[in-house]
Symmetry: C2
Subunit: 220 residues, 2 copies
């Protein structure tokens, strides 16, 4: 798997001194991530069905699952990445080190600790992660800022993806080990954060407009 | 003024074949821009005071002035920039060519036609400009989507500035001819699009939350 520079990433010239080869298989990395995500979503789904007298409407419960999943993903992955500058050279790699090694096959800027990725991850852990978890609470307790918060975080996720793809393009667009990793990781693992935020932003836009129409009717 | 490479910009190694020196003085460039902006704001202020029976509230009129100014600035400047790939080498430069030559002293990525700047200007003319003008109309006709639209454009302007400053940092942070141009153009000319969008976004957030509180009271 490893090229002339002792690692499986592209571009081959990338220097990763002390690179420790990946021990976990892609399945051993993906399964815990999917399993934990499903558990979180299931827990939020069940709890939201019982709280607040009869529970929240079905769409609100689905949205709470999404915000809990995306919030924890933002915080845990961005946190683990920012706290592990040398994840690729750790002698006893933890689960996250192995996950970043695998994901770097689709975007070696993670292994290279590219500054654009660092900038993106700082916004992710500093704003998008905590604000996503706040959205779970805001929906559950029917806060008046619930929709504008969901809209703000969704638009931030969309701009985050735009920034991610545009900086990759500007920096050479050659960070994947093969077309498979381009489609599976670089595109595939990120596309959910284009599709879902678009849907959520559109829904919040409609709900907010409807609230102002209702207010207008009341004033008359 | 011109360095060894025939232009006054930084970095000196920047190649601008056929560079035609600037003919208009900074004052001759700034005065028409400020004058036209003030005229637009004044016209919107006066018209908004007469329309719709007694006119709109004072803050709404100020916001209409801002959105008309920023919308026209986005469209005219981004449009002129995107349509003039060789503005620095035109034999008979127009006003905009001279404006970009002056502004490039604060950020030579404009003269260099840096891809990050192009990406930013495409979003500016494709979304932020038209959406800003739509905001003037939305406020004037009290559309129910007025606040969420203003919030969306303001957040986009904030992310645009973040992108602008972060890409400058990533690409070397050496694009100004002197500390004066760094502060006057790179920082000074952009800071309005940090300060005003922050204020507008905060106001729309509050108005939207208030609309949902009002709706809740009505339902009870």
């Amino acid at each position: 798997m490893a090229g002339g520079h002792g690692h499986p990433y592209s571009p081959a010239e990338l220097e990763l001194p002390g690179f420790v080869p990946q021990r976990l298989s892609p399945g051993e990395i993906l399964a815990p991530f999917l399993g934990a995500s499903l558990l979180v979503a299931l827990a939020v789904w069940l709890i939201s069905g019982r709280c607040g007298g009869g529970g929240s409407p079905r769409t609100d419960r689905l949205l709470m699952c999404w915000w809990a999943f995306t919030g924890l993903t933002h915080i845990l992955l961005a946190g683990a990445f920012l706290l592990a500058p040398g994840f690729f050279s750790r002698e006893s790699p933890n689960y996250f080190d192995e996950l970043f090694k695998e994901f770097s096959k689709g975007d070696s800027r993670y292994a290279a600790r590219d500054t654009a990725i660092l900038a993106l991850e700082v916004v992710t852990i500093g704003f998008k992660g905590p604000a996503s978890l706040l959205a779970v609470y805001a929906i559950a307790s029917r806060k008046s800022y619930s929709h504008i918060l969901q809209f703000a975080v969704s638009l931030s996720q969309l701009y985050g993806c735009l920034f991610y793809f545009v900086t990759a393009y500007l920096a050479g667009f050659n960070f994947w080990a093969s077309p498979f990793y381009f489609w599976a990781y670089f595109v595939g693992a990120n596309i959910s954060w284009v599709v879902v935020p678009t849907l959520v932003a559109a829904r919040s836009w409609k709900k907010i407009s409807a609230a102002f129409r209702a207010e207008k009717v009341k004033i008359r």
